[in-house]
Structure formats: C-alpha cells, structure tokens
C-alpha cells in the first residue's frame, strides 16, 4: 500500500514537471504534447431548461437503470444546505435504494454531486439507525455498557441490527409523544414555559416549523448551537445595513470579473459554489482568497492573502482606507444610496496599509494591490460564509464586508453581490411564519441573554432566540430561574456546542430531556425519550434557499419508505402541537404544510414534485424600485439601528485576544486558571472543514469515514518541528477552557504559529472541548472560533 502511494506521489510530481516545462521530468516515457485551444463548455450559469445533451444523459441513465431492474426517483440531497438535485436508484423488487447519483438533467448542478450525497444511501441502511421510539430504563448518567464502538471514535456508542440499545426499551409513538407532551405541559404549568428549552440544530429542512412550535407553546428559550455562530450575524448585518435584503449572501459569479472569497473554502464546504467561482476564474476573473491556510480554494487563487486569524475586520477596514484614499469608491452610489460615508471616511482614516499590515500580517503592498483590484474592477463581488460569523466581532466583520460591497458600487449589479428572491412560494423564514410575536414581550424579556444580546434575542434576529451559553449557565445554576426540561430536535448538542464539558454537565442536570434524531448520538444517549427521525431520502420537502441556487427552488421527493417507525420531523412537530392543544396553528402533516407554502404558486406539493423545481429569473437593481427598509431608506454605512441598540455604529476593528477582560467562564479547571495567558501563545481557530462531513454528521458512514478517519488539526510545519510534532501524531490542543486530541496535519503554508482544528468529532477529538466562553461578540453573543489562543503538545508529552 505504502509503496503504491510512493509511486503515485512520484508520478504526480512527474505530471507536474511534464506540464511545467518540456525538459522537466522527461526521463520516463516520452510525453505527448498538444496545445489545447480554449473552447466553450456549458456555462455554469443556470438556464431555464435542461440542454439537449443533459436530457440525453438523463434518458441514458434511466435506460441503464431499467436494464438493471432499477427505477429512478429524482429528488434533491440534503447532506448539506446546497440541496443538489440527485437521482435515487430504487430496486423495483425490494424498494431498496441502491445508489444515489447526481442528476445530469439538473440546470443547477449539471449532474455533479459530492461524496456526501453519493454515499447517502447509508443514511437508510446504517445499522445504527433508531427504528422505534425509545425510553430510558436505566437511571440517567448511567452509560449503557458493552456497545460496539463506531469507527469514528472510541467514545462513540453505536448499536447494530434490530437490537434495542442496552439500558433502553422500545415504546409506541403514542406513549412517547404522550409522555413528552404531559411532561412539558406540567413544567409549563408549574415553572412557566421559560423552564423548557426548545433546541434545534442544523436545518434538515424543517427547522422553522419547530420554531413555530416553540413560539406557539410560549417558550422564550428557543435556540440552536449555531445561529449566533452561523448565518445570524450575516443576517443581522443585512437587516441593519440593507433593511433586511440579503444582498451580500449571493454573488453573480457568471458575470463577475473579480471575486474575493473571504475566509471560506467552498471547494470543501460548498462545491457548487466553488465550481462557479472556478468557472469565473477560468473565464479570466481575478480570484482573491483571504484565509490563514492555503485552502483548496486558496490554491486556485491569483492572490492569496494569508491574514492573521481573526483579523478580518481590520483587513476589511484597511481595504476601505485604500479605496477611499485612492478615490476608487462609487461616488454616485455613495451619494444617492448610502448614509454615513463621511463618518466612515474619518473612521478608517488612520488605517493605512502599513498600520493594517501590523494588525493583519498581510503586507501593505498586498493590501493596497488587492483593495485596488477589487474596487477598480467592474464588477466585483465578495463571497462570504460562516467564517465571518465566527470572529470575535461577528456582526461587525460582516458589516465591514457589506460596506466594502456598497461603497464600491457592487450592489445588485451584474457581476456583483445580488439579491435572490423567492419563486413565489411562502417563506418559512419570517417572523410571521414562526409566530415570533406570539410570546408576550414580558416573557421575551425573560429569554436567556435578552438584555445583553439584543441582536440575537430580539426583533432584529431571524429567529429571536436565547443566547445559548447564557441558557446553559442558567440550567446549571438555576439563576435567575430554573430550566428543567429540554426538547432537542436534530442537534447533537453534547458535541456541537462550545464549552462541551459545561454543556454536558448542564444537560445531565435537566430533569427531563427528549431528543429526536436518526442515530443514538452522544446527545440521544443522555435523553429520557428518543424519537426516531427519518432522513431526507424518506420525505418530501420544498427547499428555497440562496444556498441552493440563484434562480430555482427545488422539490425534494420521498424515495424510500421510512426506516422502522421513523417519521419526518415535520410530522412529529405537527403531532406534538396537536397533543399540546396547538393543532389549529399547525398542519395535518408535512404534505399539508408544503401545500400551504406552495399555494401562492398555484401548485400543490404533488404537482411541484412532478415539476421538480420552481424558477424565477434573476433581477438586478431591486433597490431602485424598493429602496432599503432601513430607518434612512438607504444603505446604512453608519448604522442608526446598531447605535440604538448600544452597539458600535461603525465596525471598530478586530478585537485582540489580549485586550479582553477577565475570563468569565466557569468552564475552567482550577489548575488551568492559574496559568498565565502567555503560555497560550499560538493562534488558534476551529475554521477548517472536511468535504466528507457536515458538522457532526456522517462519521458513521463507512464510505466517508474511510476518506477521513481521524480528527485533524493543521499545524504550521515550523511550529510543529519546534515542538517535536510529526505528521499524523496525536496532539493535544489546550486552552484555559479545556483540551482535545486530534491528529496533526503539517502545513508549510499555514500562518506562522497557527493551529487550525476541524470541528464536529465526538469524544476526545471534539475541539469544542477546548473552546470556552471567555468573551462574546457585542450585541449578538457569538462565541468566537477564530483568532483564539492555545498551546499544543504531542500526546506522549501531554500529561
């Protein structure tokens, strides 16, 4: 095996040498050269109808499937939020899904699909799937014994076959839902709805109906592991800067001449977007990637800016200084459509490239060059994703990028950042849909974190929700009131929250915990009742998201009967609502919900499934008609809304870790508390991702785990050498809050003294164990995951 690997490495070098120069690598068989002329390829830009060749490939696929006794079910994947259109191949004789492929007739994907989607049939047949509702029979805290370990990690419990996990018994749906309902109603009666936490995780396509349940129930403490760390900061930015229109979240890659990818790595996290960016680059658009690691996306860049982790806002403000100083801003747009430009000008006046270099470790020349390229190229766009939500000043980082887009006149123009509107269907992402105003204001004020984090807990938030670290502390301390029960849908809370040790302690303290999931996750193992949810292959859905497409909504179609007695989350939520006496606010089932959402389009779910997708052409210049729904009616460079919430109206700049006050977390051990900050001298982020996983998902999938069997931490090669760490070594990452053990991957091109971990693993590889709650982003309470400090040790030296 190793020998074959060595041979491949040698050959790869030979290929590169051969392509780089005629006399290089020529010792082996004589290479055959051909100059290849550029030619056209189907543009990445979506067209309304599949091309003739796409239809031909689809028909060929159907015929080949028929010949093997298979039928094709067109649907869309939900292994991530992109929701790529795929084909599920169902064996006619057995109803079994035997494989999943990309849909070559899709005008959105043109047939591609990533490994997560291709390997997703395992979601159906993985022996770990929970098949019936389960009730705990052993006391909480007692871990079930003798369960086979999953390949992911020795601490992860897995259960195979039909066996009921030890310590649990199977119960009927009726019994499970009745117990949940009666317990929650009782807590509401005795301790108030605030004593029950309604928690969820990454959207499986249903989450807003769950928010609706929380609000209809009257529970102010609704929330998710992500939100303040994922998308909400961007959306708060959109709200205060553009009046709610999400201009910065989508890019017109098909027409752009310059792309800045700010901190994200779509090659690994959003392949369809990565491909669109690469299409633009191949067409000749300039590609600038900002990342402390030479990511797969950065590898394709014309310009790679290796910034100091967490200094994003400083870099963006430095760009603004150059653009204003060089008079490269769009004067017309600034004068007609923005407020606060003069404040901005003086705000960034001192931020010369030379000063910005000191703050960001990007050279002054590179800052100047990139800023000028971005501002002088018509038109240009900034592609941003979760990385800008996870800085220590999350909303302000997002704001700085929005200001860059606006002052350069790249808003809603061909090639710029553009507004994606719906296709006529009702949106679930509205306060109206989630019944946000149902909860009386005096109850909302009791929401954990309400006073300190208005951008998360109040009306500016997409889903007004609790600040989760504050909530978990309240669970632990009972201060200012007891939180006794939690309902968790689709969240592996015991793994996915930062400060894992504190969160799991809090979860153990709950009197009652019910969890709905596909697998017996570490979270489900802590529950009293576990409900079996179905996967995306077992249900329908209407998916309208800027993450899917600029101009399509796609329809997911049920491909398989539910595994065991598992049910769709939407059906479970609707049934729970009925039992709680809230049935009139909900739907009979998921199909009724989707019929309701689709009603304005004139289609039923069944009709939409046949049609497969809804289309609306992209429109530019939306604001010319509608303006901006901000107090001033313009783009607020200087935000009056933030000022009214006692937040900085202009981005102050990246907070420095050392400027922070005394840690306020209780997650520190006494020993760790004694150690000076100086010992934690390495820069640290948890920003890296693997294409084979989404968050905590997929570690049980043998096709994917075999590609990436261990938790990874990237370490600068020189830094590693100085600590005696070699490639693949198990390394302990330590912070005052805790520690985690991951396998070293050495990176020559990583920022110096930088350590970047991949999150999402359970057990000792879970990097969230090393993330404390020392500081939160102003107004929204983001737990920073960029620009942290740590120290590392090889495990043999660690303890």
């Amino acid at each position: 095996m190793e020998q074959a690997r060595e041979k491949r490495k040698r050959f790869a070098a030979q290929v590169c040498g051969g392509l780089a120069g005629p006399t290089m690598g020529g010792a082996e068989p004589a290479p055959r050269f051909a100059a290849v002329e550029p030619a056209s390829r189907p543009a990445a830009r979506e067209t309304d109808e599949p091309s003739a060749s796409a239809r031909f490939l689809f028909e060929a696929t159907r015929r080949a499937a028929e010949a093997e006794g298979l039928e094709i079910i067109p649907t869309c994947c939900f292994s991530c939020n992109t929701a790529c259109e795929v084909l599920a191949f169902r064996e006619k004789a057995t109803g079994r899904i035997v494989k999943i492929e990309g849909d070559p007739s899709s005008p959105v994907t043109h047939g591609v699909a990533c490994a997560k989607g291709l390997a997703a049939a395992d979601l159906l047949y993985n022996p770990g799937r929970i098949k019936r509702p389960l009730k705990r029979i052993e006391p909480r805290g007692a871990k079930p014994a003798a369960c086979p370990a999953s390949p992911a990690s020795p601490t992860s419990q897995d259960f195979s076959g039909e066996a009921v996990p030890p310590g649990w018994k199977e119960i009927s749906w009726d019994e499970a839902l009745e117990e949940i309902t009666s317990r929650l109603l009782k807590y509401r009666e005795t301790d108030g709805a605030k004593s029950i936490a309604f928690l969820e995780g990454t959207r499986r396509g249903w989450s807003r109906v769950y928010s609706r349940l929380a609000n209809a129930f009257g529970a102010p403490n609704h929330g998710a592991a992500g939100w303040a760390q994922c998308l909400w900061p961007r959306l708060v930015d959109c709200k205060v800067t553009f009046g709610g229109a999400q201009y910065p979240e989508s890019c017109d890659f098909a027409n752009t001449n310059c792309v800045i990818v700010w901190g994200s790595n779509p090659a690994a996290t959003w392949p369809l977007q990565g491909a669109a960016i690469m299409d633009a680059a191949e067409r000749g658009a300039k590609l600038i990637v900002i990342d402390p690691r030479l990511s797969e996306t950065a590898a394709k860049a014309d310009t790679w800016l290796r910034l100091k982790p967490g200094s994003d806002t400083d870099l963006a403000l430095g760009f603004l200084h150059v653009i204003i100083a060089e008079n490269l801003y769009d004067r017309d747009f600034v004068e007609n459509w923005t407020v606060g430009f003069e404040e901005l000008r003086s705000h960034v006046a001192w931020r010369t490239p030379e000063i910005t270099e000191k703050l960001t470790e990007v050279s002054a020349a590179a800052i100047r060059e990139a800023a000028i390229a971005f501002a002088a190229t018509k038109h240009a766009c900034i592609s941003r994703c979760v990385s800008v939500d996870q800085t220590a000043d999350s909303v302000q980082t997002c704001r700085a990028l929005s200001i860059l887009i606006a002052v350069t006149g790249n808003l809603d123009v061909p090639g710029g950042n553009i507004l994606v509107s719906g296709r006529g269907e009702r949106s679930q992402n509205s306060h109206e849909f989630i019944l946000a105003d149902t909860i009386p204001l005096e109850i909302q004020r009791e929401r954990c974190g309400y006073e300190r984090f208005p951008l998360l807990c109040g009306e500016l938030s997409s889903v007004p929700s609790a600040h989760m670290p504050s909530l978990w502390r309240t669970v632990l301390t009972g201060d200012p009131y007891p939180i006794k029960a939690a309902l968790i849908f689709g969240s592996n809370a015991a793994v996915s929250y930062t400060n894992t040790n504190v969160v799991t302690q809090a979860m153990e303290k709950l009197e009652f915990l019910a969890v709905c999931d596909l697998f017996m996750t570490p979270t489900a193992q802590m529950a009293d009742i576990v409900l079996p949810a179905s996967s995306w292959l077992e249900r329908d859905n209407v998916i309208s998201s800027f993450q899917t497409s600029l101009d399509y909504s796609v329809i997911q179609r049920k491909c398989s009967e539910p595994i065991g007695e598992s049910r769709s989350d939407v059906d479970i939520v609707c049934e729970l609502a009925r039992r709680m006496g809230l049935g009139d606010l909900f739907w009979k089932d998921s199909e009724a919900l989707y019929d309701y959402l689709l009603a304005p389009t004139g289609l039923s779910l069944r009709q939409a499934i046949e049609k497969r997708r809804l289309h609306a052409p992209l429109k530019y210049g939306n604001y010319l008609k509608s303006g901006f729904k901000t107090p001033s009616g313009k783009v607020e460079l200087f935000s009056s809304v933030l000022a009214s919430k006692s937040c900085a109206p202009l981005p102050p700049g990246s907070p420095r870790p050392k400027e922070e006050g005394k840690p306020e977390a209780e997650g520190q051990s006494k020993e760790a508390g004694k150690l000076g900050d100086a010992e934690y001298s390495l820069d640290f982020s948890t920003g890296a991702r693997s294409i084979f996983f989404r968050h905590t998902e997929n570690r049980r999938n043998p096709w994917l785990i075999s590609q990436n069997p261990h938790p990874t931490v990237y370490i600068n090669t020189e830094t590693a050498a100085s600590l005696g760490i070699a490639e693949g070594d198990l390394v302990e990452v330590q912070t005052p809050a805790g520690s985690a053990r991951l396998h070293a991957k050495l990176e020559r091109d990583l920022a110096l003294n930088f350590v970047e971990a991949v999150p999402g693993w359970d057990g000792e590889g879970n990097i969230n164990r090393a993330l404390g709650w020392e500081r939160f982003a102003e107004g929204i309470g983001t737990v920073p995951m960029r620009g942290l400090k740590c120290r590392i040790k090889k495990v043999s030296d660690a303890s």
Partner: protein, 190 residues
C-alpha cells in the same frame, strides 16, 4: 468502449476534494476506500507556482494510464491483463492468479489488490457505463468539472471557456493531464 477516446484531467480545475475516489468505490461496489482513482497533492518548492496552482498547492488525480506498453500486463504470469483492440487495458478474472505482481509492476501506483479476492482493482474508465451512453462515475460527479472523456483529435472539447489562454496536455498513455502551464515563464528547465 469507444476506441477513440481519451480521459482528460484538467489540473487547473482539480481541488482535490476526493469526490472521484468515493464515486468510484460506490460505482464499483468494492468497499470503502477502494476507489481506482486517487488524488495526490503536490507542493511547489518554497511555494512557487505549479501546474494547477499559482500558489503552489496542486492536486493530481491518478488512475490507470492505459499505457501503450503496460508494465502490469508484462508482469502478469497468467496473461490475465492485456491490451484490447481499442487500446484499453483488459482484465480476465478467470485467468487471474491473485499473485499481486501487477500491483508491484505498475509504475504509477494505479493498481490496488482487492482485500477479499486479491485480484487487481484498476480503472476501466467505467466501460459498462460508457457503453450505456453514460459518463464514468468520477467524470459525471466531479464538482470542479476537472475530468472529461473526449474524442481524440478533438482537443477543443477538453478545454474550458477560458480567458486565460490555451492549455497544454501531457500524457504517457490514454490519460491526458491538462493545464495552462502555470509557471512556464518563471521556471527554468531542469
């Protein structure tokens, strides 16, 4: 399989995501980790540009090159591996002795032995898919659209709409590696 095709790999478009590896293992139903195409990462010395990456981090998918004079076939004592009329490597499982000499002989590490049978797992460019009019599994699913099957003599089909000038190809068999030849100007030969 059509006799006049080449498997083209555009290094400018490969970002090493590994989708091809998983697509192959699933298509061939040979178990996790058995993809017949594997990606190797290449770094430019001191960060200098290499084909596929101005920043010096490239990815090279490696699979059976369909060599004109295949070392694996020469090494096979049973005649189980041979070149067919169309010029592709053919395999006769009936003749295979599971001796593993083909794996050792392949200079490119493109043959892996099946854990159960000990027989060679090697890329046949999804011959059965292609004869049904489909693209190989890796080609269809590659998110970066780095892989293509092209008719020989129709190099134009391999290119991408590019404002960055022509690409060149390099090959030792019937797999062409393409790149804009990043680094051509600033690298001295040898």
């Amino acid at each position: 399989m059509p006799a006049n095709t080449t498997f083209a790999i555009d290094l400018d478009r490969c970002w090493g995501c590994g989708t091809c590896e998983v697509a192959c293992a699933l298509e061939k139903k040979s178990g996790p980790g058995t993809g017949r195409i594997k990606i190797e990462e290449v770094r430019g010395k001191n960060g200098e540009a290499i084909p596929g990456s101005l920043q010096g981090r490239g990815f090279v998918p490696i699979l059976c090159q369909q060599c004109e004079d295949p070392a694996c076939a020469a090494a096979c004592p049973a005649g189980a591996l041979s070149r067919d009329a169309a010029g592709f490597l053919a395999f006769d499982a009936e003749l295979c002795l599971s001796c593993g000499l083909c794996e050792s002989a392949c200079p490119y590490g493109a043959i892996q032995l099946a854990a159960d049978s000990g027989q060679p797992l090697r890329c046949d460019q999804c011959a059965s898919r292609q004869s049904a009019g489909l693209l190989p599994a890796c080609v269809q699913h590659c998110p970066g659209k780095a892989l293509a099957i092209v008719a020989e003599g129709k190099e134009a089909d391999r290119g991408t709409e590019s404002g960055r000038g022509p690409k060149r190809a390099w090959s030792i068999g019937r797999v062409d590696y393409l790149s804009r030849g990043i680094g051509l100007s600033d690298r001295s030969p040898g």
